[in-house]
Amino acid sequence: MKRNPQRLAALASLALAATLGFSACGSDDDNGGGGGDGGSDAIVFLPKNLGNPYFDASTTGGERAADEFGGSIEEVGPDEPTAELQVPFIDTAAQQGVGALVVSANDPSALCDSLNQARDAGVKVVTFDSDVEADCRDLFVSQADAAGIAKAQVDLIAEQIDGNGEVAILSAAANATNQNEWIALMEEELAANYPDIELVDTVYGDDDDQKSFDQTEALLSQYPDLEGIISPTTVGISAAARYLSESDAKGEVALTGLGTPNQMREYVENGTVEAFALWNPEELGYLAAYTAHALASGEIEGDEGDTFEAGDLGEYTVGADGVVLLGEPYVFDKSNINDFDF
């Protein structure tokens, strides 16, 4: 090899180029935002990035809402989920003078200047999925609040184990703020409403497939009478499901938590998991579109206590800090999981 280092170097660069080539695939983007014709009926959806099935679903929901109230939705967005790339789309929407801009922000503060300029130009700004600081948007459509998330998971596990027996929690990292908040609320919920369910342990899988997998095994062997596992993290629930699906405990030990339909489809179909929760991005987009419409048409000002109708979803009230809460997390099971792709 010493005699021919060039050939090896060429091979090496070829290898690197090949791997880089894979990463260069992406969806076409829609630079410049296209020809929105402005006016209060025109709503621009700006997700974190295009080609993301989660946001494809939310835009579908937004379009369904627009059909109902007679407006138009245009989706624009960058290929990569970064805040800098979102800025030009915000500026374009402001110049076009659209009625409202619906944004899922890639950064809580980096978009603020642009968003406020758009608002000065008369564009109503609604954030959804991922908020910006409260003083640079009119309203935030929130997918779920901590109490709702905790309650949904406790209710699901209680239903699956008939409200009686030992359960354990498989969390992410021991210092994950949102996880710990949910766990504390779940403990309260269990103590208040399900006295016969005993929470025997909380273990941490660090959002690592392998560690979560091993922790599931340890839980099952340490607690032979375990009836159910709650995993409020998408990594944890799929690792636990993978373990259970190959184990004697399949169908014996219930598993629920927060997961996405794509990662859980296999396990719901083979009977390892009965039902799990997450918000429905289509409903989120639907509500965001109605919220934007209500603001742009002047139906509401966006003050706390304002109410508006959001089609099928019913009436919504603006809460503190300009937050509109979608409601209880959505429950996915065998009957509906194939309606989703994210």
């Binding site: 690197l16 791997t19 880089l20 062997s221």
Partner: protein
């Protein structure tokens, strides 16, 4: 007695083999492993005797065994490969993407794709280290981040899901032949082949010669660059194979797959008696070290020991192994010196 110490080759072959085995680090680590399994089984019999416990005991270490074998080949040459965790993750994701793109592909092909792709990444490491004469620690620390960066860029928030992989491939992750998991059989075959090569073949022995004294090896006329690149290619290829195993076993691959596994691989080798400065240690020892590490991870929760202590136990083992090595070497040096004086 002194004759034996100064001229060990005068002993009958059988006795010599026995003495080697009794004095070996592999045996010591193996005994620790057996003791660990025994204690855990007494506390929780299902650890060994339940069908699932038996399967997990054997299958869980298979991925780390592959990494430890490759890592040993590199460490023996007085180098180190820190990029194997990233290589594993990248290959695991590639495996999923191959199945998404070609769902009807006969699944055994992905094992070759994994080996080839990992080997390619190994070429990058090997060439940079051998041709440009830069310390492997620095180069592979760099490629650790580069490979992981490529992986993050490629995968982003996406994952490979179990439903993307064919059932026959997923079944391999937990399939068994005569109660021995398929993945374990695969790892053991690799272990046997590499172990035999390293122990008997000229190329294998040269790796040890290079690690013992690189300058002497070069002066002696050994093809140092070729051997070192070869060791990195082997290490990368096995990390690639481990990535395919990972996909089969865990079914889900996210951009965090394989993170920190390079350190586990180095730890397994060191615990198994592979000297970090090269020139000594066997893949058998590294494999036993890998089994010990993974088994500790599974045994401690069963023994009711807090999850946070596991890392401390692993750390104590590494330090213990190195200190033990040092003490034994010192003692042997003294005995040999004394024996030489006498004769």
């Amino acid at each position: 007695m002194t004759e034996v110490l100064v001229h060990p080759s005068e002993l009958p072959t059988r006795n010599r083999a026995l003495a080697t085995v009794l004095r070996s680090r592999e045996l010591a680590v193996g005994l620790v492993l057996v003791a660990l399994v025994a204690v855990t089984t007494i506390v929780s019999p299902s650890f060994l005797f339940d069908g699932e416990g038996w399967r997990n005991l054997l299958v869980t270490p298979s991925i780390l065994i592959l990494l430890a074998i490759g890592q040993t080949a590199v460490i023996v040459t007085r180098n180190v490969d820190l990029s194997v965790g990233s290589t594993l993750g990248l290959t695991a994701y590639l495996t999923g993407q191959v199945f998404i793109a070609y769902p009807s592909l006969p699944y055994p092909i992905v094992f070759f794709i994994g080996l080839a792709f990992g080997g390619m990444l190994g070429v990058v490491n090997g060439v940079l280290v051998a041709v440009f004469k830069v310390p492997a620690l620095v180069i592979t620390l760099g490629t650790l981040y580069i490979f992981r960066g490529i992986f993050l860029q490629w995968a982003g928030k996406d994952r490979v899901y179990a439903s993307d992989l064919p059932d026959s491939f997923l079944a391999l992750g937990n399939g068994q032949v005569l109660t021995i998991p398929v993945l374990t059989v695969g790892a053991l075959v690799v272990l046997a082949v590499v172990g035999y090569y390293a122990h008997t073949a000229r190329g294998g022995r040269e790796l040890y010669a290079i690690g013992s004294d690189p300058d002497a090896a070069r002066l002696y006329g050994l093809a140092v660059n070729r051997r070192v690149i070869g060791a990195f290619i082997l290490c990368g290829a096995l990390a690639g194979l481990a990535g395919v195993f990972y996909a089969a076993r865990y079914g889900t691959v996210s951009s965090g797959a394989g993170r920190n596994m390079e350190l586990e691989a180095v730890a397994a080798a060191v615990i198994g008696g592979v000297a970090i400065f090269g020139g000594s240690g066997t893949v058998w020892g590294a494999a036993i070290g890998a089994v010990l590490l993974e088994t500790i991870g599974r045994a401690l929760p069963r023994l009711g020991i807090d999850d946070f202590w596991q890392r401390a136990v692993v750390g104590a083992l590494i330090i213990g192994a190195v200190v033990l090595d040092r003490l034994l070497t010192l003692r042997q040096e003294r005995t040999l010196a004394a024996a030489r004086e006498e004769s």
